[in-house]
Symmetry: C2
Subunit: 188 residues, 2 copies
């Protein structure tokens, strides 16, 4: 079904344009018109795929989730591997984190979006907790996963602002992993 593939491709191109806008200007800067200009298509074309800004944003959160899931799935299944895959240390993951930040701010005043963030957080927490149960069974997996997610979120902010570079953020993460005993049980 080549037509179907074209539609998916076009949809992704439109969302990629939305991402570029949101990663620099936030979601306030996103409109059907602006996205059309950025994507190099007509506004009518954007409206053909997305009836409203709201619908376009909802699709973009699903895309963000898929990117994060993809990011953590092909990793070697170690706790450290998962965490490093989630740190924004390259251009792609930096853009993802910037877009997530833009959505984060909107989620503070949008219960439906906040619920999606909570789902994503629960998915990540369960994934980390499963690794903790395997690698460091003496620890409380939920408590440690929550702590690691908070640390990861703070290090992401610090990386985005340039408080730390990738090496420094990785060293802080490793310092914590050594402390909780993760490195004794899994290869780095």
């Amino acid at each position: 079904m080549p037509k179907r593939v074209d539609h998916d491709q076009r949809r992704r191109e439109i969302v990629a344009a939305l991402w570029r806008i949101a990663s620099t200007g936030g979601l306030e800067a996103v409109s059907l018109g602006e996205v059309a200009v950025e994507a190099g298509v007509s506004k009518g074309m954007v409206q053909h795929y997305f009836g409203s800004k709201q619908e376009m944003l909802r699709y973009a959160t699903g895309y963000l989730r898929a990117r994060v899931e993809q990011r953590i799935s092909p990793q070697p299944p170690t706790l450290r591997g998962l965490l490093l895959a989630l740190l924004p240390v390259d251009e792609d993951s930096r853009t993802e984190s910037l877009v997530a930040n833009a959505f984060f701010f909107r989620a503070l005043n949008d219960p439906a979006l906040a619920a999606r963030f909570r789902e994503g957080n629960t998915m990540l927490r369960d994934t980390l907790a499963a690794r903790i149960t395997d690698e460091i069974p003496a620890l409380d997996p939920t408590e440690e996963a929550d702590t690691l997610l908070a640390l990861l979120s703070g290090l992401t902010n610090a990386l985005l602002l340039g408080h730390h570079n990738a090496a420094a953020a990785t060293a802080l993460l490793d310092h914590h992993l050594v402390r909780i005993g993760a490195h004794r049980n899994s290869p780095p």
Copy 2:
């Protein structure tokens, strides 16, 4: 000099209005006109105190810094007391965190604002590091302070989104403090 006091008071009222707008709509929602309406004064009055949106935002970052410094100064000078004072667990500190978040997003594309964030981060890190040196001298104070700041920033995000309530966030922080040995040397 009563006139001087009035000016300061008026300036603070205008910034308080800016805060209410920024904490819900982000800095995009801030304009001299919107702030005037929210503050219940004329746009001309706002312009009398602040020549531009840029100037008003710069003043607001200074005010944010002063609030944070005030927040951590009257605390009992323990590491735990400092950290708890920085968690957004009441309405005032929640609004501060929301405004800081709004500035954070803008700082990603504004080098001058990013520099102010870095100064604030260094100030907080040095304050925490001094407490660590006193309470847990065996640790590397800078490394531990950086880790605590990342944890604090992540817990702040989790509190704002409702992933954790105040009790759960405090418990995670205490779990970390017990682990690094802070509670052995300072009263809770």
